[in-house]
């Protein structure tokens, strides 16, 4: 197996299991970064085989929910802000941003001299139109909730955007990096023939089958948009995808099955790209009803899981241990002084006793809908928790209708979350009392208050102190048992360069098409 060098280094550095090692490797990691970014070669056709597409896909940015349409849209368009490989907001169509009144009103300067594929010059009114697609009463965009703090967005000049918020939010630039919030020309609606300012012009799109595009010769971003053409084939079957990569029919794939990743050792023409990420797989305990309204039971459950074994067995080592809060060790705000909760069956028994129980019988609902491997994780947990007298009955539900009938309805079930670049986006999406995705019904006014307070602070250290406290609160009291953070495991052919690991999403934050280049 040829582990991607940068991926290997960055992930070992971030796992932090060996602190000294991480410190020792950091400089070489940076060196290899600049060395590799040096000389992208132009030309060639990039062939991708991607899972996560359906014949019901559309390129309307308001409908993006899975990898295939998102990867295509990311090749055709740009957002205002990009997240770099270290998780920081960097300029894309917005060249700079500033706030004068404590993060309540933001002024974004937009890039000049950029044109859409139809020749129209990019201006502030295009950005206003594009963002407003996701706002207002009648939109069905999944990005609606993250934009709910925006009171008004207007063009204050041909290349200047003024955003007024209902309350201060220092993370506004990160919000504009969301993959739904891409920029299209004002009044554009012909989504089947999507145009943007991106590195590639859409050539063909057959939902659930394939898409192709040709390089935009006028692309404005240095070092990106290197290949002449991309051809993307939807391959939802994991074995078919892997075979296509090994036999050279495709150059790039996503979601290598963690169980078979070892088999790639036999294929010298293939490398894996591993990205440490904030993607996590919580066991959800609903805190507003029996039995989990008693925190003793939540703690008994949390001490009953062997996190190391979960990472080793369920993720085949491609992940890191979680600490029952959603901020991953890769995040700059991660509370590194909070010890990871150990596997301690005696503590489970102790908390059961506090709750007045000798043993605790509970049904855990699981399904492949939560994530591939969720039923395995449930069965493994049953064996682990038994030692602490937490007696789990695993019920496997059909993937069809799981989010409808089980999630947020059954008191103990499994789920998944993608990571967010900043803690505020994670906490306000799933942990604030009024969040519609508060999927454990954990509601604490003290938490809400601190969350709002942190949102308005622009000083990193002051915010970090608050986020450390919030992580501790969720860790000690929350309804989420988060035992693992899962890496993204993508694959590439040996001639593909520029496929850098990225903490946000797979396929280098869905931007592999504009980043990749091919060695001769």
């Amino acid at each position: 197996m040829r582990l991607d060098r940068r991926g290997f280094l960055s992930s070992t550095a971030l796992v932090g299991g060996a602190g000294g090692l991480a410190a020792g490797l950091a400089p070489s990691f940076l060196l290899s970064d600049s060395a590799r970014a040096a000389e992208p070669k132009k030309g060639g056709t990039l062939k991708l085989g991607i899972a996560g597409g359906s014949s019901t896909d559309s390129l309307d940015p308001r409908t993006l929910t899975d990898s295939v349409p998102t990867t295509i849209v990311s090749a055709i368009t740009n957002a205002l802000v990009e997240i770099d490989a270290k998780g920081q907001a960097t300029p894309e169509l917005a060249t700079s941003w500033a706030t004068a009144d404590g993060a309540k009103t933001w002024v974004l300067k937009l890039k000049e001299g950029v044109a859409f594929h139809n020749g129209k010059a990019f201006e502030a009114e295009d950005a206003v139109y594009s963002i407003n697609l996701h706002r207002g009463e009648n939109t069905k965009s999944p990005a609606k909730s993250i934009l709910s703090g925006i009171a008004d967005i207007k063009a204050s000049g041909p290349h200047e955007l003024t955003v007024t918020l209902t309350e201060p939010n220092a993370d506004l630039p990160y919000i504009f990096s969301d993959y739904h919030l891409v920029i299209v020309p004002k009044d554009f609606t012909d989504w089947a023939k999507l145009i943007g300012t991106g590195a590639f012009k859409l050539e063909s799109f057959q939902p659930g089958v394939r898409a192709s595009g040709v390089r935009n010769p006028d692309y404005w971003k240095a070092g990106r948009g290197n290949v002449d053409r991309f051809e993307l084939t939807v391959i939802n079957d994991g074995t078919a995808r892997l075979n296509a990569l090994i036999s050279g029919q495709i150059d790039v794939m996503n979601r290598i099955d963690r169980k078979t990743v070892q088999l790639l050792q036999r294929a010298p023409t293939v490398a894996i790209v591993r990205s440490t990420s904030g993607q996590h797989y919580p066991f959800l305990m609903l805190c507003d009803r029996k039995p989990f309204d008693d925190n003793n039971l939540r703690l008994a459950v949390k001490y009953g899981i062997d996190r190391q074994q979960m990472v080793k067995t369920i993720l085949n080592g491609f992940g890191t241990e979680g600490n029952d809060h959603p901020i991953s060790p890769a995040n700059p705000y991660y509370n590194s002084e909070l010890p990871i909760r150990p596997y301690d069956p005696d503590k489970s028994k102790y908390y059961l006793k506090q709750a007045g129980m000798a043993d605790f019988k509970v049904t855990l609902h699981t399904s492949d809908a939560a994530y591939a491997g969720a039923p395995d994780a449930a069965v493994l947990y049953r064996a682990q928790a038994k030692k602490g007298n937490v007696l789990v009955d695993v019920q496997r539900d059909p993937a069809d209708g799981y989010w409808d009938n089980i999630w947020m309805k059954q008191p103990f079930c499994m789920s998944y979350w993608m990571g967010r670049p900043v803690p505020d986006m994670m906490f306000s999406t799933a942990y604030a009392s009024d969040a519609s995705w508060n999927d454990s019904y954990w509601k604490r006014p003290a938490f809400d208050k601190m969350l709002v307070e942190a949102r308005g602070i622009t000083d990193f250290d002051k915010r970090k102190a608050i986020y450390w406290d919030l992580q501790k609160m969720v860790h000690e009291d929350g309804g989420n048992m988060i035992a693992t953070f899962a890496d993204f495991v993508d694959g590439r052919g040996a001639k593909v360069e520029g496929f850098e690991p990225h903490p946000s999403y797979e396929l280098s934050n869905f931007r592999i098409i504009e980043k990749a280049w091919l060695k001769a």
């Binding site: 359906s54 014949s55 019901t56 069905k140 078919a240 075979n243 209708g401 009938n405 995705w437």
Partner: protein
């Protein structure tokens, strides 16, 4: 006579198709969730669901929606897909053509091969060749289709690199290029459907070969292959054609797994996507086409059976 029978069968077929459409509609109503929650998945907040319902006009009871769909269908309009908002035919027609092309290619190989092998097995009944043919065809039918597909991929695509593991066909491809791309899925399907047809050919021909008139022919000194081709096969044709028709229908409607393994853009994957997204107009259109294929192929089998059998051709 044949026209009358064909008309009667056709009328029955229309009723079958109507019943199928009612059945499919009610079964999908019974499934948990609807198009809104299926599209939104984990992101299904009540507001978003209500918004999609309003936009797609799903607020009406099931029988009203069915009535509207039926009305459109009778006017020749399959309706719009609920998820992409395009007319169903936009995606359906090319996919149907691709599925028919794959089924046709597999049938072109499988049917003559199966009948020839069945005849050989019948001629050499209980001898070594018969045993070999029977064992081989039973082995291929006992392996699940997806496994057969993977097996062929590993041997012919990954190791020997003879054929592509992905059957990527696209409009504008040359015929040879297209057949080359479709080689592995067609081969997989051939293995899957061959055994059934071959066994039936063998059994039917052996059955006929035991009749007195064949004995008579043998005594007259006619060569064995002539007996089989000229005397036995025509009389065994009825059951063989029926089985061939069933397998042809299977080639069109039962190829979902093979399509997934080889990433072939046919009807199967489209139907599966539509069911999981509760995209009713698409499901209805796909299922009706499948039902139509069954009805027509069975009708064809009946007619061929009658033509091949003088007693049915001239009823008393």
């Amino acid at each position: 006579m044949i026209f009358k029978l064909a008309l009667r069968r056709l009328a029955l077929g229309v009723i079958t198709i109507f019943v199928v459409s009612v059945l499919i509609f009610s079964v999908t109503e019974l499934l948990p969730g609807d198009v809104a929650t299926a599209i939104l998945g984990q992101g299904a907040t009540p507001e978003a669901v209500a918004e999609i319902h309003r936009e797609l006009d799903l607020d009406h009871p099931a029988y009203v929606r069915y009535g509207r769909w039926l009305e459109g269908f009778l006017k020749g309009d399959f309706g719009n897909s609920l998820t992409t908002n395009e007319p169903v035919s936009v995606q359906l027609v090319p996919r149907l053509m691709d599925t028919l092309a794959l089924a046709g290619l597999a049938a072109l190989v499988a049917v003559p091969l199966a009948i020839a092998l069945g005849l050989l097995a019948a001629i050499f009944e209980d001898r070594a060749l018969d045993k070999i043919i029977s064992t081989f065809s039973l082995a291929t039918i006992s392996v699940p289709e997806f496994f057969m597909g993977y097996l062929l991929i590993i041997i012919l695509a990954t190791n020997l690199q003879l054929f592509p593991s992905l059957a990527l066909v696209e409009p504008g491809m040359g015929i040879f290029e297209r057949v080359y791309a479709m080689a592995l899925p067609a081969l997989t399907l051939t293995f899957v459907v061959m055994a059934h047809m071959m066994r039936m050919t063998r059994a039917a021909v052996i059955d006929v070969l035991q009749r007195p008139y064949i004995e008579m022919a043998r005594l007259k000194g006619i060569k064995p292959w002539r007996i089989v081709i000229q005397h036995a096969l025509p009389n065994a044709l009825g059951p063989i054609v029926t089985v061939v028709a069933l397998n042809l229908a299977y080639l069109v409607v039962g190829v979902v797994v093979v399509e997934v393994v080889f990433v072939y853009p046919g009807m199967g994957q489209y139907l599966v996507d539509a069911v999981s997204k509760r995209d009713m107009p698409v499901v209805q259109a796909c299922v009706l086409i499948f039902a139509l294929v069954y009805v027509l192929l069975n009708l064809l089998a009946d007619i061929v059976g009658i033509l091949a059998n003088p007693r049915l051709r001239h009823p008393r």
